[in-house]
Symmetry: C2
């Protein structure tokens, strides 16, 4: 497939979005579920508290008995029992009776409020009350925190520590979460070597390996890294073998004509190419295909382009495959200097956002350092062309890309 | 130590900040360094590119030879050699000479620019140029991306995937990062049980275990979870034994007088208590001590209070021990309803931030669900008291607590 049917970024994203891929779930211990994606609704399994109980050391009363209590008109209640924490009373309160009760102890039958010990006065078998006690005062009702059967968390969210605590309180020690997709990343290119201080002529350090491993991890997925020579036959073989162990394939390199398109050709041989060539800058040779119902994202070998392609086309699909749907928030910010933006293309321009203004970083295409010297993208679409200093442009801060 | 010397939140934070704790580093493979904290400055080990090279297929020229080129006044250069990628030329360009060059090939001596193939016209052993070629046009200079000896990243930052790629390009396959602190979390309380649907009277599901394990993980630290009975002797023994394997201890429960302060007593027996009791609501029985130069954070048993204590006193100290210093961003937001705030206390009130207004969640102290039904804290200090609807209050969105 030749690289001349450029489609727009919008259409490319639509094509990728429209393809749905299966995902699986796993049933894991709750204590291993931090930052995992919940795949079941959490229905409370027991009332919390399991019984109405006192929230104070004091006396369980019938609130109605105290309704006229005043310093000038005290109420006297007879103490008919005493309940410690972990104990139970078989008594049912009759009018003007009370039971001495410890914090956390179950409320006796007939009682509906607690008065704190320090607000009463004991005299013999009676206590004296000089204030009105409100119904349900200083007590916790059965199921007040969590009600049995109530749904407290819905599937499809990334769990945080406080939610885990709530799920524990709801009675769960294991839960169903989305299984992390396994992503096989294949860096292609005869010129790629591991980091070294002694680079042979024509060789390039394979920095994409480190970027993509981390980007896949940050997308809540499990990376498996490999490299491949620029050879169609070897590439076909390697694709076949890694399809057995993974849910997604990402490649770098071998998508531009200059290198013979070997990755695109190999994917076409085994499956289907849906996209090859997008009117995006940088990153136009981006490709997307499907083999055995599994998505294959074909990124550029140039690190700057590969990073943009991952950010625009890959990350949110990886999340979406795990049932995370989100809309990345863009900002409207004034340009601090002119923004060169090629008309007819979707431009992804590295820039520095500083309070109220955003300034593009002037750099050549090959400068990888630009990725770490910028903190946002300026995005301009096919109809924008050059943006003048002072005009408003759309900005995507890098921190909005991350999910956490 | 009795629970009556309440200090302010500000003073408590100062006491914790002033104590410095040692940290160690480890030398690990770069591919395992995503989201780790860099503990060395990264100095570039080799020039990138390692030699000046052509960025296009074309001709290497001396820019000065073309300075008067025009369609009406073409320049003619003699082609004296040809360099493919991975090849080298021994030629030094003399005036009005040129060398045919492939993308990526090293620039021949004497040349300082490249003109693209399509902008030239070949005729015999000469090429015709009808435009001025700028110095350094369409070529990359030695060290243009990364210069040998240049410091590109400073220690003390959390590494992201793009930074890893840059470090690889700088020649590193292993780097020094901060070793993650090991945090032993001891949940104390005879009443604590693992999640169950069949809670015996007086028993409580140990939800703090799940919250704190996740909170420690999210603080880039390694949790070791344990429980302990409400027994001074056992507690002392357990503290002693876990000190051998950890850098930090966090306890829950056993800090309030009602339970006999056993945790505080145990810590005092083995080390030093610096804080016990802070004028914060919720969470006043918070304690902080030191044993064997290791910090001990004593949190409440009540999950709602423990979560607040972690957020206000613990998280940033764990990060600071790893050389991460940050200032959490607070917002000034209009109160959507009256905010009850106890005067004389630092109040941490769970609330819902919705665009321009923030509304406190009305809830009792024991309601754990409130943690997940809110998205921010309203913070009021000792002098604030009640905040009226429409007044501005300080808001800490939960998402600002996380580091990522």
């Amino acid at each position: 497939m030749s690289l001349n049917n450029f489609i727009t970024v919008k259409n490319a994203i639509k094509i990728i979005e429209n393809r749905k891929f299966s995902f699986s779930t796993e049933y894991i211990p709750l204590e291993k579920s931090n930052r995992r994606i919940l795949s079941e609704n959490i229905e409370v399994l027991l009332n919390v508290p399991p019984f109405s109980r006192s929230a104070m050391d004091g006396y369980a009363v019938r609130a109605i008995d105290t309704s006229n209590s005043l310093p000038t008109n005290p109420t006297y209640l007879e103490v008919v029992d005493e309940i410690g924490a972990g104990e139970n009373s078989k008594i049912t309160l009759k009018p003007f009776e009370t039971v001495k009760i410890a914090t956390g102890a179950p409320m006796p039958s007939g009682s509906d409020a607690v008065i704190m010990h320090e607000n009463t006065e004991e005299s013999g078998s009676e206590i004296k009350i000089i204030e009105k006690v409100e119904r349900h005062q200083d007590m916790a009702l059965t199921g007040e925190d969590l009600k049995k059967g109530e749904v407290i968390l819905k599937k499809g969210q990334i769990l945080n520590p406080n939610q885990l605590a709530l799920i524990a309180s709801a009675g769960y020690s294991r839960i169903n979460v989305v299984k992390k997709p396994v992503v096989n990343v294949i860096n292609t290119g005869n010129e790629l070597v591991d980091p070294t201080t002694n680079l042979e002529p024509g060789m390039i350090i394979n920095s994409n390996k480190y970027a993509l491993k981390g980007l896949v991890e940050d997308s809540l997925s499990v990376p498996i890294m490999s490299t491949c020579a620029d050879d169609l036959e070897i590439m076909v073989k390697q694709l076949k073998s890694c399809l057995k162990e993974c849910d997604v394939i990402i490649t770098t390199g071998g998508t531009a004509i200059s290198k013979g398109d070997i990755v695109v050709d190999a994917v076409e041989e085994l499956g289907e190419i849906l996209i090859h060539g997008v009117s995006i800058k940088p990153g136009k040779p981006f490709g997307f295909g499907i083999i055995d119902k599994k998505p294959v994202f074909m990124l550029s070998g140039y690190p700057v382009a590969a990073a943009v392609q991952f950010d625009i086309f890959v990350r949110d699909k990886l999340l979406n495959m795990q049932r995370i749907n989100r809309k990345i928030e863009l900002l409207n910010v004034k340009a601090g200097s002119d923004v060169r933006s090629a008309p007819g293309k979707y431009n992804v321009i590295r820039a520095w956002l500083n309070g109220e203004t955003v300034t593009p970083i002037r750099t050549k295409a090959g400068i990888n350092k630009s990725i770490t010297q910028s903190n946002c993208y300026i995005l301009t679409d096919e109809n924008t062309g050059k943006v003048q200093k002072g005009e408003i442009c759309q900005v995507l801060p890098y921190k909005n890309l991350n999910i956490c």
